[in-house]
């Protein structure tokens, strides 16, 4: 847990990132607020299409047309308002104070430049290093992220490295300038399970050494359980639950989080089948009225269809966007779930 006294490293308030196409508007991220404290790892989970990646790209202002961060959104980092910076100033933060690593180490590296060149480029862009110094630092960084024979690997091209090594190279690139915040967007999804564990371990170790915060974006609650101290659950462009990681796994409040947990296999599980959440994520051009999860929810009642739930305080550092917080008795009587789900998902 973070102490409320320390100032957050990153503050996101009412972030809305919409994509305008003709007259239809896809509200991919729709009023998201959260903080990241110094040195902490925050997990951001949700299904594909819930807005996690758009949230992370918005922080570095990497959203391209027709996407737009809407007026009224606020992103503060180290006390600076990122949304009011000019192009040069935001570029000075990218890869320097805030770095990103991405899901596909295969396609995230440029195939026509050597790995060393790509890592060294960060130092060339942000520092005053000479070509030679930047290259030496790149080799050193590759060594630090556990790339064997880094001097030789640095002269190789991405296609000559394995997936795990490529992701290590991405991490080396991201940590070159010792950023205060690392945004890791599905960093292990494309990797084998054993490599996944190695990469997560490496990130934890480097976090310790560099003293940075990590915003870990994933659809995999297993990854969250291993690495994060606090979890944000996103659904349909909104944060629907926020809780310390133990609380979330022990006592998730939101039915969507419940569904995610039930869809996850666990040690000693005696279930024959994993439970699935019926239906699919609705389209961001037409989020359902009321609670955006109501047509997939086992507990939904009239109020859920009519009234958008606010974030209810459940406990310390635990909030949930669900009317069950106001009417907890209803949790014992799920009704009409399958019928409702089948009707809307057909």
């Amino acid at each position: 847990m973070t102490s409320p006294a320390s100032a957050p490293l990153l503050t996101v308030r009412d972030l809305s990132t919409w994509f305008h196409a003709g007259r239809s508007v896809a509200r991919a991220v729709d009023g998201v607020s959260f903080d990241v404290m110094p040195h902490e790892t925050v997990g951001l989970v949700g299904e594909s299409g819930c807005g996690k990646s758009v949230t992370s790209l918005s922080i570095l202002r990497l959203i391209e047309r027709p996407g737009r961060i809407e007026p009224g959104s606020r992103i503060e980092f180290e006390g600076r308002d990122l949304l009011s910076l000019d192009d040069r100033a935001i570029r000075a933060i990218r890869g320097n104070r805030i770095s990103m690593i991405f899901q596909e180490p295969m396609t995230s590296l440029n195939p026509v430049f050597t790995v060393g060149d790509q890592v060294a480029e960060v130092a060339r862009v942000h520092g005053t290093d000479s070509r030679r110094e930047a290259w030496d630092r790149a080799v050193e960084m590759l060594q630090q992220v556990g790339v064997p024979a880094p001097a030789e690997r640095a002269r190789e091209y991405p296609h000559q490295l394995s997936g795990g090594l490529r992701q290590r190279a991405m991490i080396a690139m991201a940590l070159m300038m010792h950023p205060a915040l690392l945004i890791a967007d599905e960093p292990t999804t494309a990797l084998d399970v054993t490599i996944q564990a190695q990469i997560l371990e490496l990130l934890a170790e480097l976090q310790e050494r560099v003293g940075m915060s990590i915003l870990l974006i994933t659809h995999d609650l297993g990854v969250i359980a291993e690495s994060a101290s606090r979890v944000l659950v996103m659904y349909a462009g909104q944060i629907v639950e926020e809780a310390p990681v133990r609380t979330l796994f022990a006592a998730a409040h939101h039915p969507y989080t419940e569904g995610l947990l039930n869809a996850m296999p666990r040690m000693g599980d005696r279930r024959e089948r994993l439970t699935v959440i019926p239906g699919t994520v609705p389209s961001p051009t037409e989020w359902p009225a009321g609670c955006r999860f109501h047509d997939r929810c086992a507990y939904a009642w009239d109020r859920c269809r009519a009234e958008a739930p606010p974030l209810y305080q459940i406990g310390t550092g635990h909030v949930s966007r669900c009317h069950l917080a106001a009417e907890p008795a209803r949790r014992r009587s799920p009704h009409g779930a399958l019928a409702g789900g089948a009707a809307t998902s057909s």
Partner: protein
């Protein structure tokens, strides 16, 4: 790598042979022959014609003529040109450098302009500058080469008199010029024909380059570069362009035959004493040896072009280098 080169070379020789053979038969099956073209006068007694036909072996069966010709070709002997009254190799030696100069300059201009236009369009995608350039390149892209040559000639040499009308150098003053003046004079004569050829290709290259750049700009590694803090300009000219050059290199291999075909018309219009002009004349005079030699040389150039394109691929893309 060596085996690949040898195989490519063998392919190349096979293609040259096929092209040359096809040209040989096509020409001999067409009505008329060099004797008819040069001695075609009612005053020439039939006996004289028959005599020359016999001397040059034109009365032999086609298969025998083909065999002799092939044997000569393999020894690098292209035969004798009747209308020029010189060995074909000598005729070509005086024309080929002129064509290579024209094509080389046109090629460099075309790719420099095409890639630059593509970059500008990609940078300003969807904005007025992009679509006005697209409209402009479509205009030149769809224009026939001889028409463009005539229009440039008309406007820049006749109406505004900025450039000379024809030839490679000033026919009167050239011998009296000093070294630098001669170079200047040659460049001045080169502008219109080279620009005609370059404009036609540059339009196609620009369209290709723009599409390739936009294609690559959606790749994941472009986002990585932006997230690293690299400026938009460098992202485009460094990370995107290097990848987007690959399809344009393919175009390089394809551009040579187009340029070569175009140079036939352009050389004719500007009276540029190159292979194109030579070929056109050779068709008129039924100059079999010169014509087949010209076709063989053209096919060698085209094959060399695709060879160079392959080599450039390896320079730009490390993934090709290893295979």
């Amino acid at each position: 790598m060596l085996r690949l080169l040898l195989r490519r070379a063998a392919h190349g020789i096979l293609i040259v042979w096929l092209v040359a053979t096809a040209t040989f038969f096509l020409l001999h099956l067409a009505p008329g022959d060099p004797i008819a073209a040069s001695l075609d006068s009612p005053l020439t007694p039939p006996a004289v014609r028959a005599h020359y036909r016999h001397v040059y072996g034109l009365d032999q069966p086609l298969s025998v003529q083909y065999g002799r010709w092939l044997a000569m070709m393999t020894h690098g002997d292209f035969g004798f040109s009747f209308p020029h009254r010189r060995p074909v190799s000598a005729v070509i030696a005086s024309a080929l450098p002129n064509t290579l100069l024209l094509m080389g300059v046109a090629l460099v201009l075309a790719f420099a302009a095409g890639i630059a236009l593509g970059l500008i369009q990609a940078r300003h995608r969807g904005r007025p500058l992009d679509w006005s350039l697209a409209l402009g390149s479509l205009f030149f892209y769809s224009m026939p080469d001889f028409w463009l040559a005539l229009m440039l000639l008309f406007l820049f040499a006749f109406v505004w008199r900025l450039f000379p009308v024809t030839g490679m150098f000033d026919p009167v003053m050239y011998p009296y010029y000093g070294f630098w003046q001669r170079i200047g004079d040659r460049l001045w004569h080169l502008v219109l024909p080279a620009c005609t050829l370059a404009l036609l290709s540059a339009a196609a290259i620009a369209r290709f380059q723009r599409a390739a750049l936009l294609d690559v700009s959606g790749e994941d590694f472009v986002l990585t570069a932006r997230a690293k803090g690299v400026s938009e300009r460098r992202v485009l000219t460094h990370h995107i362009l290097r990848n987007a050059l690959l399809p344009v290199i393919t175009l390089f291999g394809l551009a040579l035959p187009v340029l070569l075909g175009g140079s036939v018309f352009v050389e004719k219009v500007f009276s540029w004493p190159g292979m194109g002009l030579l070929t056109v004349e050779a068709i008129g005079t039924r100059d079999y040896p010169l014509l087949t030699a010209a076709v063989v040389i053209a096919s060698v150039l085209v094959i060399a072009g695709s060879f160079i394109a392959d080599a450039l691929y390896a320079v730009v893309d490390p993934r090709v280098r290893l295979e």
